[in-house]
């Protein structure tokens, strides 16, 4: 079943006008993008910084208003929702942010942090908070209730952020670089947790990352973005093993490999790099 269906999604941002110029210049951050995500699948969105991947994430949770195109979540177009209707719909989509040091309110206890979305949607019950913490591996949950974010490590904080996103049982989750701030030995644990939760609750996820190896590990499908457009989209293993687009090839050939014997063949747009 199709959960997310995006058609011709476009977002332009106005740039600063030049002095004496009448024309308003724009940058097309997201340019006519279309994709779908099936129920229980993870779509990875990869690309370099500035390619528009975070803009897409923000559009899908409607932190930004799209300039054009359609976003339907389980059949309902949310591209133009506003006000009360948008607020009601928000419980269906949740976001996990990159930096667990910034995304949690330092003045709220873990209990209050997770209770907040429940209260906002009128769904609060103490058992839900207990269960949410248990599900993300923060055991025993009671031990975390009255602690503050600064008392937790980066990995634990990101688990709290995941619990907060999942506690209201969203239809769709957007994860924007959820592990890029975590240390290697901690990162693997959070990635495995997300995979386990995806399986257990049949989560539908858009996973934004710049790390192709992480995308391969996590995702069913991968979409490669370049300058606001999707240049290649397909099954994750296909895209990694057998890339079709020249940009995907260049991107893959630049990924360092943790094996000194593997001699990478670099595909370069420029023979000798000279930055002008």
């Amino acid at each position: 079943m199709e959960i997310v269906n995006v058609e011709h999604l476009t977002k332009v941002f106005p740039l600063k006008k030049r002095l004496f110029s009448k024309e308003q210049p724009y940058v097309r951050a997201v340019d006519e993008i279309s994709f779908t995500i099936e129920k229980g699948k993870i779509l990875g969105l990869v690309g370099e910084s500035g390619c528009g991947k975070t803009t897409i994430a923000k559009l899908l949770v409607r932190l930004l208003h799209p300039t054009g195109g359609k976003i339907s979540i389980r059949g309902k177009d949310i591209a133009d929702l506003r006000g009360e209707k948008l607020k009601k719909f928000r419980k269906n989509i949740q976001m996990i942010f990159q930096d667990p040091y910034e995304s949690l309110n330092p003045r709220l206890t873990i209990h209050s942090t997770i209770a907040e979305p429940l209260i906002a949607q009128g769904l609060y019950s103490p058992e839900k908070i207990h269960e949410a913490l248990e599900v993300v591996g923060l055991k025993p949950p009671e031990g975390f209730f009255y602690r503050y974010p600064h008392e937790l490590s980066g990995g634990q904080r990101q688990r709290v952020a995941i619990a907060r996103a999942l506690v209201i049982e969203p239809i769709f989750v957007v994860a924007d670089e959820p592990t890029s701030m975590l240390d290697v030995s901690i990162r693997a644990g959070v990635l495995n947790l997300m995979l386990a939760l995806k399986k257990r609750f049949e989560l539908t996820v858009l996973f934004v990352t710049h790390d192709l190896a992480v995308a391969r590990y996590m995702c069913d499908d991968i979409a490669v973005m370049h300058r606001g457009k999707i240049v290649e989209i397909g099954n994750a293993e296909d895209v990694i093993q057998n890339p079709k687009h020249s940009y995907t090839k260049a991107l893959l050939s630049a990924v360092p490999i943790p094996n000194p014997k593997a001699k990478r063949k670099r595909i370069r747009a420029r023979e000798k790099v000279i930055c002008i």
């Binding site: 370099e48 910084s49 490590s153 990995g155 240390d183 290697v184 030995s185 901690i186 990162r187 693997a188 644990g189 990635l191 495995n192 710049h210 790390d211 192709l212 190896a213 992480v214 391969r216 590990y217 293993e237 990694i240 260049a250 991107l251 893959l252 050939s253 630049a254 990924v255 360092p256 490999i257 943790p258 094996n259 000194p260 014997k261 593997a262 990478r264 670099r266 370069r268 000798k272 790099v273 000279i274 930055c275 002008i276």
Partner: protein, 318 residues
């Protein structure tokens, strides 16, 4: 052949309001002529503190309490600040992580490098300008861009300029501290390529600090793995990847996804790195180790040569 850099039993600590933190604890290794050594570890393991100790650019609350840093036959630890000023840039120079903060925003990039050269070498400004031009070409920047300010450069270009600056006074030893961490994968790849080529061409020794073992695998001849202030394994790059001896090194390798080969299940390391205010008495990895024995709890394992040129600090021979 004599080592260009030899570190013997180096220990340094930070005095904090909560107590003393030994960020680098009894670390020893050597770098031979022409060699590139990679220092890998997670945040807070002491790899940057080690780099800063060698440069003697430590903050006021930090102190080298024990050990020697022998560079070019002389002990850096005993040097005064005035003597260090000569050694920095000419002997040892450093490529810093945050390229944005390492450049002065109100001075043209070219002039900053010229200034650095003229502070160390007794040459005319025109000569220095010539030299910067050559450096720009070496690091892949168009010399015409010398007249621009840092904000007019992209992130990758700024990092290239920092590398050019580090090379300005022909150092014998270059410390690269996460030089590509803030950069995109394609730009990272170009910079790594540049650093490796220059290091080989100029026959410098290098210490490359990174949290990313795959970057180290591609740039360095030797690898040192640090954990919570201890150097826990040290070996030739190939030997380390073929046969990692320390449980932490193994754990680190199996928690890294790759785009090569079949998709493998990642095995996270349980627990968290220790609090260095109150580290474990024996092996610092002991609380997270799957091979832990009783002896690991109370006796610190020494770094010993298990195989030829392959050192590991673990009580268990595996």
């Amino acid at each position: 052949m004599n080592a260009v850099l030899e570190i013997k039993n180096l220990t340094m600590s930070y005095e904090t309001s909560a107590g003393s933190v030994s960020a680098v604890d009894n670390v020893s290794f050597k770098i031979m002529p022409g060699e590139a050594m990679g220092l890998v570890g997670e945040s807070g393991c002491g790899k940057t503190s080690l780099g800063m100790s060698i440069m003697k650019l430590l903050p006021e609350n930090a102190k080298i309490t024990h050990g020697e840093i022998i560079f070019d036959g002389e002990d850096v630890v005993a040097k005064t600040e005035a003597e260090m000023r000569r050694i920095r840039w000419e002997g040892i120079s450093m490529v810093f992580q945050a390229a944005m903060n390492a450049l002065n925003p109100v001075i043209k990039v070219g002039d900053q490098i010229i200034e650095a050269i003229m502070a160390h070498e007794n040459i005319k400004k025109e000569k220095a300008r010539e030299k910067v031009r050559a450096l720009y070409e070496m690091v892949g920047l168009a010399p015409e861009r010398m007249v621009n300010y840092p904000h007019e450069y992209s992130g990758g270009m700024r990092q290239r300029a920092i590398i050019a600056m580090a090379l300005a006074c022909d150092p014998k030893f270059i410390i690269a501290d996460e030089p590509t961490t803030a950069l995109d994968v394609i730009v990272q790849d170009e910079i790594i390529d540049e650093i490796v080529n220059i290091q080989r061409k100029l026959n410098m020794i290098m210490m490359y600090i990174s949290h990313d073992i795959s970057v180290i695998a591609e740039t360095c001849d030797k690898i040192g793995v640090m954990y919570a202030g201890h150097l826990i394994e040290y070996a030739d790059t190939f030997a380390l990847f073929d046969n990692p001896l320390h449980p932490y090194t193994r754990a680190l390798m199996s928690s890294f996804p790759s785009i090569e080969g079949p998709r493998k299940e990642l095995k996270p390391v349980p627990g968290e790195p220790p609090n260095l205010l109150d580290p474990p008495q024996g092996c610092r990895f002991y609380p997270r180790c799957s091979h832990a024995q009783e002896i690991c709890d109370n006796q610190r394992p020494e770094l010993v040569e298990r195989e030829k040129d392959h050192f590991s600090a673990c009580h268990r021979v595996i």
